[in-house]
């Protein structure tokens, strides 16, 4: 049980008199079980006094409110002012603090892009971005709340590391492993309602690494975010058809694990990428860059948003519509290998 699960939802207005299906803002917190940043940072902050957490009116849905309850004097809710918050984080870092800035990917990476670029990356300060709800996970909130461009937008910012922990276990590991990293890090996270993939920490975790979750010789899928789970589903579907798929969690989006890409080119016939992001600028582009420089004849197929804004719909319907779910990925691979 996590801290958040055991603590009563004190501030909720939804009492026992309510319908058991009703929930309010406080209740919605409990649904995002993979977003454990708050509780991990509480543990880290007990050992070091430089950790501070910042948010812009999204402390509850991103779950760093947990940290705010434990360390109210080290928790800053800036209100709806993302650019001010990121600039302030840079100022705090320059004065010796280790700021973790929590918000939705669309508002951190895109709205506050110039503050990330100049105030944090150019200055090479140790600011961490906990960028939740990336990709299409906001569903019918629409394109304003989707982030299918964040990797592309900030991958070109020098000095910035981009990691994508895909569940609670991976997020905990990523936060702990990088706490002493001297430069800025962007953690690309989901909504927190994803099916967990890991039940134990990733072996040999490192910035610039990747993790092979499943081996196969016919093709390789480099996936990120919720698409890692979808790629594993695809692998299970294709196994029954005699196709052996290698599935790699590309948890370090920048720097990318170039050796793993080279290995895939040498050892499997076809490389696929799968992401909740525009194939332009995202993981697909990053893998393509490595493959072009290797000079391989191995083919690449990029699964993701094909340079389009998404239509509206619940997230699961969107994943299916865009061929990002297990069946969709399997279909693309089956067709490409035929």
């Amino acid at each position: 049980m996590t801290t958040a699960d055991t603590r009563p939802l004190l501030e909720s207005t939804v009492t026992a008199e309510f319908d058991e299906r009703s929930w309010d803002m406080v209740g919605s917190l409990a649904l995002s079980k993979q977003l454990v940043s708050g509780e991990v940072l509480i543990e880290l902050a007990r050992r070091r006094d430089d950790i501070v957490v910042l948010t812009a009116d999204l402390g509850r849905p991103t779950r760093v409110i947990d940290f705010g309850r434990a360390f109210p004097e080290r928790y800053y809710n800036f209100g709806i002012s993302e650019r001010n918050m990121v600039g302030a984080a840079a100022g705090m870092a320059s004065a010796g603090m280790l700021p973790y800035v929590s918000g939705y990917a669309c508002f951190l990476a895109l709205l506050a892009a110039d503050q990330i670029r100049l105030d944090v990356c150019y200055t090479k300060l140790p600011v961490r971005f906990l960028s939740t709800h990336s990709g299409l996970t906001m569903g019918f909130y629409g394109s304003s709340h989707h982030a299918t461009e964040d990797i592309g937008a900030i991958r070109s910012f020098a000095n910035l590391t981009i990691l994508a922990p895909i569940d609670a276990v991976a997020l905990r590991q990523a936060l702990v492993a990088t706490v002493d990293h001297p430069g800025p890090i962007y953690f690309r996270l989901g909504r927190g309602r994803e099916t967990p993939v890991y039940d134990a920490p990733i072996p040999e975790y490192r910035i610039g690494g990747s993790h092979r979750l499943r081996d196969g010789t016919d093709a390789t899928v480099f996936a990120t975010g919720i698409c890692v789970d979808f790629a594993l589903q695809a692998a299970r579907l294709l196994e029954a058809e005699g196709i052996a798929l290698r599935v790699v969690d590309a948890y370090s989006l920048k720097p990318l694990d170039a050796d793993a890409v080279r290995g895939a080119c040498l050892e499997t016939r076809h490389v696929f990428t799968a992401e909740e992001h525009n194939v332009i600028g995202g993981l697909g582009s990053a893998v393509a860059e490595v493959m072009a420089e290797v000079g391989t004849a191995t083919r690449l197929t990029r699964i993701g948003m094909q340079d389009a804004f998404s239509i509206l719909g619940p997230p699961t319907h969107l994943y299916k519509n865009y061929g990002l779910d297990g069946e969709g990925i399997a279909k693309t691979i089956r067709t490409a290998l035929a």
Partner: protein, 282 residues
């Protein structure tokens, strides 16, 4: 600045009250389709919206792109669910479209999309953008000598965005008398009460300092007061932009939601759905 004295007849008031009730019951019904929704911030603006659309804005549902129409933009786009039932009721699009709310491929999402929704003058969703957009609309309309006005609905939490004040400065400096901003002062935002996160008051002094006229609307749910205040802002004599500071109640109309930031977003199970509907229809 002068104050106009538009007053509603008893019949008009009853009609607008019925429309406001329709907005709220539709918000509850559509949120059931979606599985979650912004009750609090939709309920706080129901009277403001019906006074605008049924009384004050010059729009043509059969010609949504009419060049000289008044423009209405939703800075607080997450409350678009309160606008859709009005647009459907006015005939901008078929009422049956409402039943597709948030389903795959629907034109109607949590935030308004000008490319998909007839009657939506601009898209929004990222807080803080639409006052700047409205400044641009007002500049263009003035340049084209159009009599049309631009009305932008803002949240009080939204006042924290720096871009609001960039827009406010440019509107004041350029004396955009064809621009009206409404601040829905429902006192809450997503995480908590506004004054517990980033208190932006006094808004009246701030907007005045940025070159705006200020109209205080002390009860944003009193249809007579709402209509008079908006009429003053739109039709009174002003040589500068006008902001209507509307004191409203988050979640207005459903007792257990009123004043509660907790109902910024939520979902009502069947028993509470009935309970809310009963209160709204009473």
């Amino acid at each position: 600045m002068t104050t106009t004295t538009l007053s509603l007849s008893t019949d008009e008031r009853a009609t607008l009250a019925e429309k406001a009730r329709m907005v709220r019951t539709e918000v509850v019904r559509l949120t059931e389709i979606a599985g979650s929704g912004h009750y609090g911030s939709a309920f706080s603006i129901a009277e403001l919206l019906v006074a605008l659309y049924y009384k004050l804005l010059r729009v043509r549902p059969n010609a949504p792109q009419w060049a000289d129409r008044d423009r209405f933009t939703m800075g607080k786009g997450h409350a678009a669910i309160a606008v859709y039932p009005i647009l459907a009721d006015l005939g901008f699009f078929p009422a049956s479209d409402l039943d597709t709310y948030t389903r795959l491929g629907s034109p109607l999402g949590d935030h308004p999309d000008m490319r998909k929704v007839k009657g939506a003058d601009f898209s929004s969703g990222s807080i803080g953008h639409n006052l700047s957009v409205s400044v641009g609309m007002a500049l263009a309309l003035r340049l084209r000598k159009s009599p049309a006005r631009v009305v932008c609905m803002l949240g009080d939490g939204e006042q924290g965005e720096g871009q609001i004040w960039e827009a406010a400065a440019s509107a004041g400096y350029r004396k955009l008398s064809n621009l009206v901003a409404i601040v829905d002062r429902n006192e809450v935002e997503s995480d908590d009460r506004c004054d517990a996160i980033l208190d932006m008051e006094p808004l009246d002094a701030k907007y005045r300092a940025f070159g705006w006229d200020v109209v205080h609307l002390r009860d944003g749910h009193d249809l007579q007061a709402v209509t008079a205040a908006l009429d003053d802002a739109l039709n009174g004599w002003h040589d500068k932009p006008v902001v209507v500071l509307a004191d409203t109640i988050a979640g207005k109309g459903v007792s257990f939601m009123e004043h509660a930031w907790q109902w910024h977003l939520g979902y009502l199970g069947p028993r509470d759905y009935e309970r809310a509907m009963k209160e709204l229809e009473a």
